[in-house]
Each structure stands twice: as C-alpha cells, then as structure tokens.
C-alpha cells in the first residue's frame, strides 16, 4: 500500500505539469488573436512588442527581461496587465510557482485574458499544494470560459478542477469533472488530451482502489498514447501501465511496459539531444551568419570607401572640367578684348601717324615760308626797301606764331596723353583770362581788321585749371579768327544761367560749318576731322585737345553753326562755389 501510494504521487507529479504543458503549448487561437490586436494597439512600445513575440516563441527568459523593461518605463494599466501576465506565465513555465503567483496577483480584474490568468494561477496553487485556492481559481476560470464559450479552456479548467478534487479526495466530484473533460476532449478529438484525461480518470479510480476501472482507463490511455504525438504522454502512459502491472504482480508485463517507458524516455532524451544539436547547429549557423554579416559589413564599408573615392574623383574631375571651361572662356574673352584693343591701337596708331605727317607737313611749310620770307628780307635789306621790310617782318611773326601754337598744342597733347600734365583747379576770373588771351591775338585781329568784344561778366569766377582753360580759349579764338573773313566780328560773352555752371560763348560771323562737320568734330576718338577746306582747316588737333581739356575740367562743349553765317562755341564750366 505504502509503495502504491508512492506511485500514485509519482503519477500525479507527472500529470500536473503535463496537462499544463499541453495548455501552454497550444496557446489557443483566442489568446493569440488578442495578443496580435494588442500588438497593433501598442505599436510604439518596443519592449512590449519584444516581450510579446518572445512569449509566443516560448523564450521565457527574454519575455521576463523585456516585460520588466516595459514595466519600468510605462504606466499604462493595460500594458502592465499584459506584462504581469507574461511574467506570470513565464515564471510558471520555469516552475517558479511562487513568483508566478505574485505576478498573477498584480493583474487587474479588467484584464482581457482573465480566464487564462486564473487558470494558470490555479495550476500554480495546485503545484504549491494549496488545493482550496487552486479549486477557487479553477472554478473562476471555468465560469469565465463558459462565458467566453471557450471549450478548450473549459476542458482544461475541468481537468484542473478534477485533479484538485483528486488531491482533496473528493472522488465523486473529481470523477464528474474528469468525465466532463474527457467528453469535451473527445468532442475536440485531441488525442493527447483524451489520453491525459484517461490517465487522470485511471488515477482517480486507482486512488479509490477501483482497480478494474483504473486498469481499463490506464490501458485505454496506453492504447491511445500509441497514436499520440507527444512522447512524454507516451512515456507516462507506459510507465503508468508498468506501475499498475507491477502492483498486480505481473512483473513480466511490468518490465515490458517499464522498458517501453524507458525507451520513450530515451527517445525523449534523444530528442532533447537532437534539439540540443539542432540548437548548437543553429548557434553555429548564427555565428556563421554573423561572420558573414561582418564580412559583408566590411565589404560594404570597402564599397563605401570605394564609392566615396569614386565620387570625389568624379567631383574633382568635374571641377577640373569647369575650371578648364572657365579658363578657356576667359582666354577667349581676353583674346577678344586683345583683338579689339589691337584694332583700336592700330587705328590710333594710324591716326597718330597721320597726325605726324600733317604736323610735320605744316611745320615744314611754315619753316619753308619763313625761309623764303627771310630770303626776301635779305634782298629787301640789300635794296633798302624799308616799306616791304615791315610787311615781311609782320608776315614772319605771323608764321612763327602759327607754328608756335601748333607746337604748343602738340606738347600739351603729348602731356595729356602721357598723363604728365599738371592739373590744379582754382578759382579763375574769367574776364581777366579772356582779356589775357585776347592780348596775344591783338596783332592778328588788327591785321585782319576783326572787331573783338569781351563781354564776359566781371563777376564770373569759374573753378577750373587755369592753363588748360587758356589752351581751350586760345584754340577757339584762333579758330574763330582763322574762319572769320576780313572785318569780321568776334564776341566772347557769358550767358546767365541759374545752375552751378557758367556758360561762355565764343561767337564769330565767319565761315560757319555744316551739321555733319559739327557732328564729326564732337564725335569721340575722331582725332582728325575730314578736311573739306584744306587751305585753312588745320590738323583738328586743337579742337580735340579742347574737348579733352574741357572734359577734364568737368565742362561741356556745344557748337551751333550755320554755313556762311558764323559759329557759336558754347562752353560751360563749373562756377566757383560761393561760400561766404
């Protein structure tokens, strides 16, 4: 009897985790569905997602870690419930029943998987041999399963209740519940579960010393276990048979069953070994993969650097290309500029050459005239013709004056071109300057019988460089005299304007010129005006010089003229600022 009892307990020890195992293994669809819903609901909670996925994979340690993490960072009630539930289940599966119990107690009553929790909690109590509590929670689970119409869960609950009753020795109730379990399991046609139900029933009857019934169920469970998938079930069934046969004294058969049981156990171990090997292989494969990953990483790094190198070299090439294009464009541009400059220079050079030839020609004729005049003078002196002498001397001085003014212009032109001309603006009394210029031309005016009038306002002070002003006035007066007929009139006067400029007009009633000539004269860079009257029109140098000097003094030049009526040269210069 003593021995028998011991075996019973042995059996029960095997049974209790057994049915729970089957429960956890086939995590029922309902639970899975809810968990997946939660997954979507708590998408952002990484730790929850991880712990949930580990839970479904039955990696209990990882589940514990991530659920703990989730608990430490979040205060969400629902999430906390799930986490405690995961932890409870994990502890239970790790056979840490007290811890499991604690976790389950932390789950609130609004938890969606309440029956599952209650069931596992009941199982935990059963394992801890607190049968009353176990019964209470199993019954709670039963009610909730009934409510949620979960037959598989209900079967489990009935099984739990039945088993608990066995321990409480309330065999009738136990029988009732176990039969209910059996019925449900038969309905769902789960061989493993039916087998376990038979075993439990057999144990129940064996406990009540209803040996025949017990043996019937043991046998039934044994027969069924042959069809079952679960090796542990097979082993337990054959072991039970061995114990039963041993007690009946059929040692031979007991031995066979025992052997079979041992065989199943070995195969279980083998399976475990295979699993371990598989696990090891898996680990190896993972390591291999890891290695591959590292290699790939290095390769990608290498590729990256290669790509970067390529990119930079392309960039450098592009820059080089752009630089080249830019330099080329610059070169083209500069060569264009150089070409235009060359053309301009050629043109200028040509004009300069022309100028040279004209100037030298003029000078040559002047000197020649002097020579012939001097020859005449000598003869006149010899013949003592004094009347002629005076006239010749006058002629000579006129020629000398002309040549001098030409040379003077030339000198100033050169100075201006080489930027060596000293330029100093000062307040200048216009009337006095006109007077001074007139002074030099008095003989010439007298000679031609031209009346000259200086009608410049005596209060006109202009702010210019004195010497350049003199050059301008000298040239313009020279021109006016040159283009005036005998007994003509030349007048220099200022006109009142209210601006900051003083307007000076040099007016003659001489030859005049056409609009075309005026335009030509005023045009820039046209060094030499075309000669329409080569007898009296000079180099054009004088007027060009005037234009530049006027410009330098910030003045302006305008010409009004009519053929055979006369010319007005209108100059304007800035007035001296009157400050006090």
């Amino acid at each position: 009897m003593n021995l028998k009892l011991k075996y019973y307990f042995f059996c029960f020890f095997l049974i209790a985790p057994f049915f729970l195992f089957s429960q956890s293994e086939k995590t029922n669809l309902f639970e899975k569905k809810i968990l997946q819903q939660k997954l979507i609901e708590f998408k952002g909670e990484l730790n929850f997602i991880k712990s949930q996925s580990y839970y479904l994979k039955k990696d209990w340690d990882s589940t514990l870690i991530y659920s703990m993490k989730q608990l430490s960072i979040s205060n969400n009630r629902k999430l906390a419930d799930y986490c405690h539930y995961f932890r409870g289940e994990s502890f239970f599966n790790k056979k840490l029943y007290k811890e499991a119990k604690k976790e389950f107690f932390l789950v609130s009553d609004s938890f969606e998987l309440l029956p599952f929790k209650n069931f596992t909690l009941g199982a935990s109590f059963l394992e801890l041999k607190e049968f009353d509590n176990a019964l209470y929670y199993f019954k709670l689970a039963e009610k909730q399963y009934v409510k949620s119409n979960n037959t598989v869960g209900l079967a489990n609950a009935y099984n739990g209740i039945g088993t608990t009753y066995i321990f409480l020795k309330q065999f009738e109730k136990a029988e009732n519940y176990l039969l209910k379990t059996l019925r449900i399991n038969q309905e769902t046609q789960n061989n493993d579960k039916i087998c376990i139900s038979y075993m439990n029933l057999a144990n129940l009857y064996y406990e009540q010393y209803k040996d025949n019934l017990a043996i019937f169920y043991f046998k039934k469970s044994y027969e069924l276990s042959k069809k079952a998938n679960n090796i542990t079930t097979k082993q337990t069934a054959s072991k039970n048979m061995a114990v039963v046969e041993e007690n009946r004294g059929n040692f031979k058969e007991a031995l066979t069953y025992r052997k079979e049981s041992e065989q199943w156990k070995d195969s279980l171990n083998n399976q475990n070994k295979i699993w371990a090997v598989a696990d090891f292989e898996k680990k190896y494969a993972v390591a291999q993969k890891q290695k591959q990953i590292t290699v790939l990483k290095i390769e990608s790094k290498l590729k990256d650097t290669q790509r970067n190198g390529l990119f930079y070299s392309v960039l450098a090439l592009l820059l080089l290309l752009i630089g080249g294009v830019y330099v080329y464009a610059q070169k083209v541009k500069s060569s264009k500029i150089i070409l235009t400059q060359k053309n301009k220079l050629d043109e200028l050079n040509a004009t300069k050459d022309q100028l040279f030839s004209i100037v030298s020609h003029d000078l040559r004729s002047s000197v020649n005239a002097l020579k012939t005049s001097n020859a005449k003078l000598t003869t006149s002196l010899e013949t003592k013709n004094y009347n002629e002498l005076d006239q010749l001397l006058h002629q000579n001085s006129a020629i000398a004056n002309g040549a001098y003014s030409l040379l003077d212009n030339l000198l100033h032109w050169a100075l201006l071109q080489t930027k060596q001309l000293y330029f100093h603006k000062d307040s200048v009394h216009l009337y006095s300057i006109v007077q001074q210029i007139e002074y030099n031309y008095k003989p010439l005016l007298l000679d031609k019988g031209i009346t000259f009038e200086n009608a410049v306002s005596k209060n006109s002070f202009i702010f210019v460089d004195l010497d350049s002003l003199k050059i301008v006035l000298r040239n313009l007066l020279d021109n006016a005299i040159k283009f005036s007929d005998e007994n003509g009139e030349i007048k220099i006067y200022t006109t009142e304007t209210n601006t900051n400029f003083c307007q000076l007009v040099i007016q003659d009633n001489g030859l005049g010129m056409s609009q075309d000539t005026i335009n030509e004269l005023l045009e820039d860079n046209e060094l030499l005006a075309k000669k329409s009257n080569s007898e009296i029109i000079g180099t054009g140098l004088g007027l060009q010089l005037c234009k530049q000097m006027i410009k330098k003094n910030r003045g302006t030049l305008a010409i009004e003229s009519e053929l055979n009526k006369g010319t007005k040269m209108i100059l304007s210069f800035p007035k001296t600022e009157q400050n006090g």
Partner: protein
C-alpha cells in the same frame, strides 16, 4: 601810395629784362634781380620786398623752389611769390605745390598774365581771394599795408601813414598825411581786417588811427588828428576812450 617792391629771381637775362620792363611799365618797383639762390636770399633780406617772382629752374636746378621753401620756414618772413616755369612737369609741380600759397605762371606769358598772377599771389597770400577782380572790392589788407588795385597795377599804402578812414557806402576815403584817395571795400570787411587796437571806430562813418590822435574834445564831440584834421565823435562809440592812457 607807394609802388610795390618786386624781387625777381631769374637766371636768364633776356627774360628778367623783359619782365623788368613790363613791371616797370606798370609802375612796379624792382628791388633787385637775383641770378641764383644765394643772391636771392641776400637781396630778399636786404631789401623791403612785397612780391617775389621766382623762376623754378636756376641753372637747370629747381633752386627756385628751394628758395620758396627757405622763406616759407621762417615765420613772418615770407612774402607773396609767383613761380615762373616753362614746363608742366608733374614732379616739379608736386614739389612746388607744397610751398603754400602756391601760384605759378607758365612761360611764355604776356603783360596781362604776369600782372594777373601777381594780383593772385597777393590775394592768396593774405587769404582774401577774388578781391581785385570783383566789382565790389579792390583792396587787400595785410598787417602793414593796404594793397590797392589802381587800373592794371597794384599800389600799396602803409597802414602807419593812414590818419583816418571815412566810409561812404561801398567806398572808403583813405586820408594820409600826404594824400587822399578812394578804395572800394565795405565797412564790415575793412573793420574785420584792420587791427582793432590801432584803428578805432569813433563814428558811424569814421575809423581813426589811434596813433594819430592829438586831442579829444569831449565837449564838442571832436577828435583832432595830426595835420589838424577834425573828426566827429559820436556818443555810441565813446567807450574806446576808457581804454586809452589819459595824461592828466
């Protein structure tokens, strides 16, 4: 009225002769013609000089500018001067420009140009520009002299010689012991230019040389000047008497 004393510094005899001729013809007084730098300094310090005409190049060296620089350094010794030059060489001008006040004349020049240049030099030197050529003034006043433009040429009158000045509109009658003449200058202008310690306003129309006062008869509101000129004294200008050292 005295003639203006001109010192000519010119190394070429023909040019200095021509210049002298022009100046003498216009009643200027030539105190000397220097041919070089040393002569110029000697002549400058030995004679009373009013204006100097300086040729920039003496014997091919720009000693003219050196001379101007020398007299410029000595305070109160400097006089108005005009540079003569035949070249518009920039470098020379940059140097000459530093001797302020700077005025120059390009060779060749005619009579009018040299006279104009001299007037300009005086105006610039005494910092009273646009005087001689304007229509409302013809006198520049220095510390010792009045420079007056008479026709084409300048004249001077020593301030020392003036007895009193009578103001009439834009004109002033200048009365010296020897002569009497009219200059064109406004009262406000002349009173700012004259030394107030020496020339005292005694009446709306009179400015009197204090040195020439012989007697003040307050009862008759009269001032008796040297040469027995009687000048009116008006009440509003009597204050000056307090400042005088009265012998009792």
């Amino acid at each position: 009225m005295d003639n203006i004393n001109v010192l000519i510094i010119e190394d070429t005899p023909e040019q200095s002769d021509a210049l002298s001729k022009v100046l003498l013809a216009n009643k200027y007084n030539i105190v000397g013609v220097a041919r070089n730098y040393t002569d110029a300094l000697t002549l400058f310090y030995q004679n009373p000089v009013d204006i100097i005409v300086i040729d920039v190049f003496l014997d091919g060296k720009p000693d003219g500018i050196t001379f101007a620089e020398t007299i410029n350094i000595v305070p109160n010794a400097s006089k108005p001067f005009v540079f003569l030059t035949s070249s518009q060489d920039r470098q020379i001008f940059e140097r000459a420009k530093l001797t302020k006040p700077f005025s120059f004349l390009m060779k060749p020049f005619n009579e009018l140009e040299i006279l104009y240049a001299l007037e300009m030099a005086v105006e610039k030197f005494y910092e009273q520009t646009n005087v001689f050529l304007s229509e409302d003034q013809d006198t520049v006043i220095s510390n010792d002299y009045m420079f007056i433009k008479k026709k084409n040429a300048l004249k001077k009158v020593s301030l020392q010689d003036i007895l009193y000045i009578e103001v009439e509109d834009r004109y002033c009658n200048i009365i010296t012991e020897k002569e009497k003449f009219v200059i064109l200058i406004s009262l406000t202008k002349i009173s700012t230019l004259l030394n107030k310690e020496k020339f005292i306003r005694t009446h709306r129309n009179y400015i009197v040389n204090a040195d020439k006062i012989e007697e003040i008869i307050l009862a008759d509101n009269l001032i008796i000047l040297k040469g027995n000129y009687k000048i009116n004294l008006s009440d509003s200008y009597k204050d000056f008497i307090k400042k005088m050292n009265i012998l009792s």
